[in-house]
């Protein structure tokens, strides 16, 4: 690791903060400047994330950055391993597309959008990179604070209501986070995640109760973020109230919780230490099941597309958590693929909802199903006046319709996009063992059910919104709306075609996760720059 490549790791955090510092110095009216700055930043973040990914994959060992040049566990470390790099890439793609989309009009509907947006990305990136529990708390605060601002963006009563709800829950959760960290620190005397993992083996038995209680409280904090039932009632409403580009980025916020659960579960309870191994697994599995089931119910009963999307976020979280609980190399790599695919696709859905619903005038976008009143085993000839001539679909509707179909396919896990591959991979992994457990069957059933309900709900909505002839003038679509949606869907298409290489990357990630010592060694043995002490060196 040499030269500027070394500092690349910290760039996803520092770059947005620095750009924001500059942007704050300019008047809010300089919109084009701010757009240019923020778009360039998100584009740069994509490049940086790709470089980090390339580097992490090439070297195969976690890249460690010692902030302030203090060695672990005393200073704060950033760790870019394959998993973090992957998450960085995911959030940067979503960030770039959502920001571009916001230029259509959303960034004008309130002050300081660009700053808040970039700082949200900084917080999320920091959470993915940090190797320190308290630093993680700080970045959670950064991303939460930014999300408070973003959810309020655009104002309006429903937004304010939903966001106050959201803020309250999250402040309570942050408190739990602190309590959990404090308890773990009291037992182990460290905040560094690698050091913590290494010390797990040496925790005296009489302290295990505090350790597990601390881990449980901490876990609740992350699970609230990832939207687990019954702690997720705020989520759907909040996401639905947010403006579309914000909701799209929020899709990745639940994944922050998932990421941390995955990271800590594999580091702390990964099985190397018999006493606490697999401590959370069963809870995760059942809570995951409950969350999927709740999401399925929600999707079925949803009357607006944004509620479908919100509940799909829950389904996705539930699936991921249950799979994390089940563990195993194959399942984990399938889960990671699913994570990427579902995040991108739900992001695309949040972006496409608004243009699709733009011409709908009722509150209930998806019509309720009534029992058919007519008797219709098809015996008689069609009596209604049928028009057997196709109508010309305006370009914008065709694009919207195509995009909507793609989203539907992705979310329902149907070919030809990555959703199918993800579903296939998970079920395949569940079948791969010698004995197929009851839990595996439950999960498969839930996955299948969630796919079907998503299909039913989205088809009903799509047919109603896109196919049903309307008197309104056709939707006017902006290029800045089409391009981001197209990019996200293209990303899903590419991940279907390149499923092979992507999957081998995911397998490498899963293997890394299975071997905590890799992470621990990399962090604990990371060399300081310019030994001896810097104070003397200069």
């Amino acid at each position: 690791m040499t030269g500027s490549m070394q500092h690349l790791i910290v760039a996803p955090v520092v770059l947005p903060i620095a750009v924001c510092a500059v942007m704050l110095a300019f008047n809010e009216r300089r919109r084009m400047l701010k757009r240019a700055l923020s778009l360039a930043t998100t584009a740069a973040l994509m490049v940086i994330a790709a470089l980090i990914l390339w580097q992490a994959d090439k070297t195969g060992v976690p890249q460690v950055y010692l902030l302030g040049n203090w060695s672990a566990p005393f200073g704060i470390v950033l760790v870019a391993d394959r998993l973090s790099a992957m998450m960085l890439c995911l959030v940067s793609v979503l960030g770039f597309t959502a920001l571009l989309y916001s230029f259509a009009r959303w960034d004008r509907s309130g002050p300081r959008f660009h700053v808040l947006f970039l700082l949200l990305l900084a917080g999320v990136n920091g959470a993915f990179l940090t190797g320190d529990l308290f630093n993680l708390f700080v970045f959670f605060e950064v991303l939460l604070a930014a999300s408070y601002g973003l959810i309020l963006h655009g104002a309006g009563e429903e937004r304010t209501r939903a966001s106050l709800h959201y803020i309250t829950i999250n402040i309570a959760t942050s408190l739990l986070f602190l309590i959990g960290v404090a308890m773990i620190y009291a037992v182990t005397g460290t905040l560094n995640m690698a050091d913590l993992a290494a010390r797990m083996a040496t925790v005296p038995p009489e302290d295990l109760m505090l350790l597990e209680a601390g881990a449980a409280v901490l876990g609740i904090a992350f699970l609230v973020k990832s939207g687990i039932w019954p702690l997720s009632f705020w989520l759907v409403r909040t996401y639905a109230a947010a403006v579309p580009p914000v909701a799209a980025v929020f899709a990745v916020m639940t994944k922050v919780g998932i990421y941390i659960v995955l990271r800590l579960n594999s580091l702390l309870f990964g099985g190397a230490w018999a006493e606490t191994a697999g401590f959370a697994d069963n809870w995760l599995i059942w809570a995951g099941f409950a969350t999927i089931a709740f999401g399925v119910l929600g999707i079925l009963s949803a009357r607006t597309l944004s509620r479908v999307a919100g509940h799909y976020v829950l389904v996705s979280s539930g699936t991921l958590l249950a799979v994390i609980g089940m563990g195993g190399l194959e399942l984990t790599s399938a889960m990671l693929f699913y994570l990427v695919s579902s995040t991108l696709s739900v992001g695309a859905l949040y972006l496409i909802i608004e243009p699709v619903e733009r011409n709908a005038d009722e509150d209930d976008i998806i019509p309720g199903l009534e029992e058919p009143v007519f008797d219709d085993e098809y015996t008689g000839a069609i009596e209604e006046e049928e028009n057997e001539k196709g109508i010309v679909i305006p370009g914008s509707i065709a694009v919207l319709g195509g995009g909507f179909i793609f989203c539907t396919l992705l979310l329902a896990g149907l070919p030809p996009l990555s959703g199918f591959i993800a579903k296939f991979a998970i079920v395949d992994a569940l079948f791969s063992g010698p004995v197929i457990s009851a839990k595996a069957w439950i999960l498969i059933t839930l996955i299948i059910l969630s796919g079907l309900t998503t299909l039913v709900a989205l088809t009903r909505a799509g047919i109603d919104l896109i196919w049903t002839p309307a008197e309104d003038s056709p939707v006017h679509l902006n290029v800045t709306e089409i391009v981001p949606i197209g990019l996200l869907l293209a990303a899903c298409l590419v991940s279907m075609i390149l499923a092979g290489p992507i999957f081998s990357y995911m397998e490498a990630v899963a293997a890394d996760l299975g071997d905590a010592s890799l992470y621990i060694d990399a962090v604990m043995n990371a060399p300081r720059a310019g030994e001896p002490e810097m104070g003397e060196a200069l």
Partner: protein
């Protein structure tokens, strides 16, 4: 070009054509259809070139890695059977394209139609040519998707939308079952590769998971092939344009299920359970379809039910599990495709030329369209199983197999009878179709005057009918070799001897055929006239598949909504309660597992003063919680007391730095909250009818108290357990040792903040900045509630006093009221600022630091605002909080980045001592620059929030009352 490449080309051509067609101009009818037809022809020709290879019994394979680690490779596989099927897909597809060119209206934007049609054709080819189980499912689902788009092509019609939706949901339901079934099959066989799986039939059939796997795969095949009880989607798919129906119902969509059953036949068939399920379902479908077809009045409806019945027949043949049954199944699949496609096209012509498909209206069309009539008659005769036509041959085989069935169940003797019955129905509806449409008196009241269709539109029918005839008359010379290749590729060594002869002598099948033919004719003569009057098919019509489907769906949605409401909440309180309870439960698990134990660390005697301090603090905290609902001011004051006791505790426990910071933070947040309090709407007192709090409310509150007490006790217990333990050998010792040596400061807390963990601090000041911006933008749009707009009582009294005296201006009293404090506060301003700077500079070595300094400076500004009022402060002092934030962040980030220049990681520090005149040695650390950044951000943050609150008072209220014109609002607002 190699075989493999050719195969890829065959599969890719329709998809390429589809994309191309999508970009053609809206009215490019000729170009689109020409291109689509050409693609069909080229692909067919390419496919034909494989004949010689396949005739030798070889299989063409092409494997490209796709997702190799999961056993999913892109595999193309061409065997005799799939070749025959692919030819059918392409051949009939090409004819349908030709037909559609003339069928679709000129105004129709057909390129879209052809785009979907080609994509559908490609997907169907994909199913047929796949050599990997998962890949089959992949294309299978794509056929569902494109058939959805095709059925819903005229989506401005309600029936098209409904039909498309039902088809999609039913077939996708089957699709996911199929996926799981295929995954199980792959799991059992150890590979997803079709050829491997085909070789492991014995293992598969003996496996414990055979039954669930079989059921899942069968659901997939049966939904697609419209088998009972999933048959209801098919008639609704009739809303599609007729070319689509002709294609979907003959060679493709519905045949996909049949195709799959034939393909996997060597693996799955041959067990008792296979026989029972498949034969029963096939038989039920055969009878239900044939019976319902009799009572249809819509030409396409009749054909749709007839399709269902024929699909049932093929399924039944496959269920029998005998090689001869398989031969008959393949043969009938091909035959059915030819006569059904031609019949649909004929029906389409009739519809096109007369404007109706209602059998009750049609009559005597023979005179108007003799050629179409002749063609339709031949095709219908093939459907009815009249000798010398292809339908007859496969039907004979079917009847023979029905007689041969040996399962030892009731089905053995029932099968021949029911088979004959179904054949009789088939004859009946075929006659009805022909007789009703083409014979009898000339039609009256038709929307159009009927006439013959253009020649090119009839050509596809002519070709197909010719095929029916040729195959029916000289089977061994035409279909014989093709069928042989197909059968051999499926059955291999088990290929039975079979004869395609037209005449097998007088035997039972022939007798049954004759009975069916004669019976059908007689039945039509007897009941034919009454059919037109019937509105529903007897018995079967009561099944109402569609209605059941919609009802079930609606019930599911209603049930889900009800359940969803039960297990969720919209209320914040409930959500918070759940959060606390869940946390409590999760936190107790560890204690329940390992027990609770107090640590054995050194304990100290409790100091009575300290105890009093804590009792005071605790009581205030509880009091604040009690008062929070109705007496916000009192609650805030008590929160202040609790905060102060925390500060004192810090100092008591020798943490002056924490104490100082906490004290400053307490004061500023308390004041800011008090300022905000002014704008909160008044809380209405609790009112319950009769003055009694309802029981359920009291119950809820009691529960809440219990939860709160439990959570509090839990936290206390944890804290006690934590603090009684000896400190673990952690990282804190390092900080104490290294603070001066490595960080250049003697104030360890500050060194931690700006050096060891300066990254945290960078994050935290970012949080501060965000919060300030958020508060500002929230309050920017904030308009207080109407009842809060009113002036406080005190100000009203003051104003009334002013108004009552001539020598007083409005607002004088208010201004004079705080005169003394104002002077003091203004004088304090520079002193506090100096103090703030002092805190900042000395922070690295003594209690203080950027944060404490920043808060102190903000207090100075706050006092100024409170003393002088918003307007007068802002007239004299231009604070630009956002600039402060911006500069602060830049300072912090740039200080951190400066380390890069020396090749060190971000936020590495540098320190030395500076000789200053008079003052002497002054420690200078780069951390100080960082701390200046912190200082600046803190000042900017608090000032921004303060300004946001202060500006509420100089805003135009939402509902201004006459006496409250904005210019008359005095400066003295926002005080408490």
């Amino acid at each position: 070009m190699s075989d493999a490449r050719l195969l890829i080309l065959v599969l890719a051509l329709p998809f390429l054509g589809s994309i191309l067609a999508a970009f053609l101009p809206t009215r490019a009818r000729n170009a689109a259809s020409f291109m689509a037809g050409l693609i069909g022809l080229i692909a067919s020709a390419l496919l034909l070139s494989f004949y010689s290879t396949l005739a030798t019994g070889q299989t063409v394979r092409h494997v490209a890695p796709w997702l190799p680690s999961l056993g999913l490779d892109f595999t193309l596989r061409l065997s005799g059977f799939t070749w025959l099927f692919a030819l059918l897909v392409l051949g009939i597809g090409t004819l349908v394209v030709l037909y559609a060119r003339y069928y679709m209206s000129e105004e129709d934007p057909v390129p879209r139609f052809f785009s979907f049609l080609l994509a559908f054709m490609g997907s169907m080819l994909g199913v047929v040519l796949s050599g990997n189980l998962i890949q089959i499912v992949f294309f299978w689902e794509m056929t569902s998707l494109f058939s959805f788009l095709l059925i819903g092509y005229w989506h401005h019609n309600q029936s098209a939308r409904d039909g498309a939706r039902i088809a999609l949901i039913v077939t996708c339901l089957g699709g996911v079952c199929l996926l799981v079934g295929m995954l199980l099959l792959g799991h059992i066989a150890g590979s997803y590769d079709l050829d491997v799986v085909l070789g492991r039939g014995d293992i598969v059939r003996a496996h414990a998971l055979y039954l669930p796997m079989l059921i899942l795969i069968l659901i997939g095949a049966f939904t697609k092939s419209a088998q009972f009880p999933f048959q209801f989607w098919l008639p609704h798919a009739m809303s599609a344009p007729t070319p689509v129906s002709a294609y979907l119902h003959s060679a493709t969509m519905v045949k996909a299920g049949i195709f799959l059953l034939i393909l996997l036949w060597p693996v799955l068939a041959g067990t008792q359970i296979w026989y029972l399920i498949v034969v029963t379902i096939g038989l039920a479908t055969l009878l239900v379809g044939a019976w319902s077809a009799i009572f249809q009045h819509d030409l396409k409806g009749l054909l749709a039910y007839s399709t269902i019945s024929h699909l049932g027949l093929i399924t039944l043949l496959l269920g029998l599990g005998s090689p001869l049954g398989l031969v008959a199944a393949i043969f009938h699949t091909v035959n059915h495709a030819t006569f059904k496609a031609s019949l649909f096209m004929a029906a389409g012509i009739i519809d096109h030329e007369t404007g109706t498909r209602d059998l009750r209206k049609l009559s005597g069309l023979m005179k108007f369209m003799p050629i179409t009539a002749t063609l339709a008659m031949v095709a219908a005769a093939a459907m009815a199983g009249v000798p010398l036509l292809n339908g007859f041959l496969s039907k004979e085989m079917f009847l023979a197999e029905a007689l041969e069935s040996q399962s030892g169940t009731l089905l053995d003797w029932a099968l021949p009878i029911l088979a004959t019955l179904a054949s009789m129905f088939s004859v009946l509806y075929s006659i009805r179709f022909i007789h009703q449409t083409f014979f009898g008196p000339p039609p009256v009241d038709l929307p159009h005057t009927p006439h013959e269709a253009p020649h090119w539109m009839r050509l596809p029918i002519e070709i197909l009918v010719l095929a029916c005839l040729v195959v029916g008359i000289i089977p061994t010379l035409t279909i014989g070799p093709l069928l042989q290749i197909a059968v051999r590729s499926v059955l291999g060594d088990r290929t039975p001897d079979y004869s395609l002869a037209i005449w097998h002598g007088f035997n039972m099948p022939l007798l049954m055929s004759v009975i069916a033919l004669v019976g059908g004719v007689l039945l039509y003569r007897r009941f034919g006239g009454r059919l037109n009057a019937m509105t529903n098919s007897p018995f079967i019509g009561r099944l109402k598949g569609r209605r059941t489907f919609e009802t079930v769906l609606a019930a599911l949605i209603d049930g889900a909504s009800a359940l969803h409401r039960m297990v969720s909440t919209k209320r914040l309180q409930v959500q918070l309660r759940i959060l606390i309870v869940v946390t409590l439960a999760a936190g107790s698990i560890g204690f329940l597992t390992y027990g609770y134990s107090v640590g054995n660390g050194p304990t100290i005697m409790l100091d009575p003063i300290f105890a009093v301090l804590w009792i005071l603090g605790g009581a205030s905290a509880i009091g604040a919680a009690v008062q929070a609902k109705f007496h916000r001011l009192a609650a805030l004051a008590m929160v202040g007391v609790a905060g102060l006791s925390t500060c004192i505790s810090f100092i008591w426990l020798s943490a002056p730095d924490l104490g100082l910071t906490q004290l400053l933070v307490e004061s500023i947040t308390l004041v800011l909250m008090l300022l905000g309090l002014r704008w909160l709407p008044q809380r209405l007192p609790e009112f319950w009818p009769g003055g009694r709090t309802p029981f359920n409310v009291r119950l809820r509150r009691g529960g809440d108290i219990l939860i709160a007490v439990a959570a509090g006790l839990g936290a206390a217990a944890i804290a006690y357990a934590m603090m009684t333990r000896p400190e673990p050998e952690g990282i804190s010792r390092f900080f104490l040792e290294q603070a001066y040596h490595g960080g250049g400061g003697t104030n360890v807390v500050n060194v931690i903040l700006v050096d060891f963990r300066s990254f945290d601090t960078l994050g935290e000041i970012t949080v501060l900045a965000i919060v300030a911006l958020t508060v500002f933008s929230l309050l920017r749009r904030f308009r207080p509630a109407a009842e809060s707009v009113e002036l406080p009582v005190q100000q009203k009294v003051q104003n009334a006093f002013d108004a009552g005296r001539e020598d007083r201006e409005h607002g004088d009293t208010a201004a004079h009221y705080l005169l003394v404090p104002r002077v003091i506060m203004e004088w304090m301003f520079p002193i506090i600022l100096t103090c703030a700077l002092y805190f900042l500079i000395r922070g690295h070595d003594l209690p203080g630091g950027g944060f404490a300094g920043g808060v102190t400076a903000s207090i100075a500004i706050l006092l100024l605002y409170m003393a002088s009022g918003t307007r007068s402060v802002e007239a004299r002092l231009n604070i630009q909080p956002v600039r402060w934030i911006s500069v602060g962040l830049m300072f912090a980030v740039l200080t951190g980045m400066a380390a890069w220049l020396a090749g060190y990681p971000l936020l590495s520090t540098y320190f030395s001592y500076l000789e200053l005149p008079l003052i002497g040695d002054m420690p200078v650390a780069s951390a100080l620059l960082f701390d200046i950044g912190v200082f600046s951000v803190v000042v900017g943050t608090t000032a921004l929030i303060l300004i946001a609150l202060a500006h509420q008072s100089i805003r135009t209220p939402r509902a201004p009352k006459p006496e409250k014109a904005p210019d008359k609002i005095p400066d003295m607002e926002g005080d408490t």
